[in-house]
Amino acid sequence: MKLTLKIWRQANASDKGALKTYELDGVSQDMSFLEMLDLLNEQLLHNDEEPVAFDSDCREGICGMCSLMINGEAHGPEVTTTCQLHMRSFKDGDTITIEPWRAASFPIVKDLIVDRSAFDRIIQNGGYISANTGSAPEANSVPAPRDKAMRAFNTATCIGCGACVAACPNGSASLFLGAKITHLGELPQGQPERYSRVQSMIGQHDAEGFGGCTNIGECAAACPKEIPLDVISQLNKDLRKSMILG
């Protein structure tokens, strides 16, 4: 396959940055999207040009490190992460525009790499349960209803990649936040800190500069883990209750 790539190039956080066009030949349909970028970087290095900086880690779709806005879609046209997107989803001769996540709370480090430590701080500010350490407790001593356990498990699949923020016109992290609130709030272990957690986490979310949710649903459509929109309803419900319960 031969492709035309329009890639955001930005030397550092203070650089203005611009889209730059590259021609790439010899792309196999079996390559992953990141392998295609690796191929481009080999070509750039061969020509003594600066390779494109992008994030990746596990390349198995489970770590949440890779990102990329591909032709206006977070993680590209398939419901998966960029590393699990394959070039068979594109056609020979395609033009592909590749941009970083765009959010003031995710400042650009270089090219396509953004700093998502704002998510880490949201987790630090309540996204956990407090438990005494020691030997592992007996697994069946705290019963968890199956439906709640399943919902907690499904929302715990959130890998914190930031696609929800990238796809949201408001730059809201409500889907991420909702996933964490639901995941911890559905289980018995999450109950003692349930309402203080939602207050701290939304406080951090807002302080980081993320926008408010307008319930339009772009986040859930972009989520590679298919976290549904109802976690935002759960977040809203828990926050509403926390206003009364303190």
Binding site: S105, A118, S172, S200, G203, A207, G209, P228
Partner: protein
């Protein structure tokens, strides 16, 4: 609420100061508006019962609750509640829109909408359009009582709610009918997403089924209210109400 990136953890955050609290304010004030337009729409349909019934209804709105309330008391209570809701609704919308704008200083060169409805993407400008319409609508029927049809500003027309209504939507003033129908389209769009969004913001859509029901509620509210309102100008311009 600061809209800047920070590297520190926020201690003692209060839920009443959060973006979600602003959304809850928008949902609550929005529900006030939905209930109001529902009753308003029902009242308008009195035009189908003729001049006497329509004007009687208009007068009854003013004598409602007498002697417990003074003449026109109910309307003044409604005005205060609606104005308060408007300030809350617009204030929260402006605050949230500014946050959203600050969060994306550099726009995407290419951005696709995959799941959002047209109505959900037109909430802000649609809201501005509705505001402009409401100002005109109040000047037209309440504050200035502008009769655009024949008869001018004669008191027998401006002081007669039914005549003012009919004279506004005569075939010669087709453009007036167009303005009102266009406004009802904007209202339908706003209600379609607004109803769903309010239910979701209040936290009543925790399953796929309840979310689907909330979407249906959005359609029902939009069609019933905007459709009901549109009947009166349409039936007047075609001469059924005269």
């Amino acid at each position: 609420m600061r809209a800047v990136a920070t590297t520190t953890l926020i201690k003692g955050a209060r839920s009443t100061r959060s973006t979600i609290a602003l959304k809850l304010l928008m949902a609550a004030s929005g529900i006030v508006f939905v209930l109001f337009v529902l009753v308003h729409m029902y009242g308008n349909l009195k035009a189908f019962s003729g001049e006497l019934a329509y004007n009687e209804y208009a007068e009854h709105l003013r004598t409602f609750g007498e002697p417990y309330l003074p003449y026109g008391g109910l309307l003044w209570i409604l005005r205060v509640v609606l104005l308060g809701s408007l300030v809350a609704h617009v204030g929260a919308a402006v605050a949230l829109a500014r946050r959203a704008h600050a969060q994306r200083p550099v726009k995407y060169a290419v951005k696709k909408n995959k799941a959002s409805s047209l109505s959900s993407r037109t909430m802000r400008w649609g809201g501005v359009a509705l505001f402009v319409f409401i100002v005109w609508h109040l000047l037209h029927f309440t504050i200035a009582k502008i009769n655009v049809g024949k008869g001018g500003q004669a008191p027998d027309i401006t002081e007669n709610p039914y005549r003012l209504l009919v004279n506004s939507f005569l075939p010669e003033q087709w453009w007036m009918v167009a303005i009102y129908l266009l406004a009802m389209l904007a209202l339908a769009f706003h209600l379609h997403h607004g109803t769903f969004s309010a239910i979701q913001t209040l936290g009543f859509t925790n399953t796929a089924e309840s979310r689907a029901r909330a979407r249906v509620a959005g359609w029902v509210v939009a069609i019933v209210i905007a459709g009901g309102f549109s009947l009166v100008p349409l039936f007047t311009v075609f001469g059924v109400i005269s």
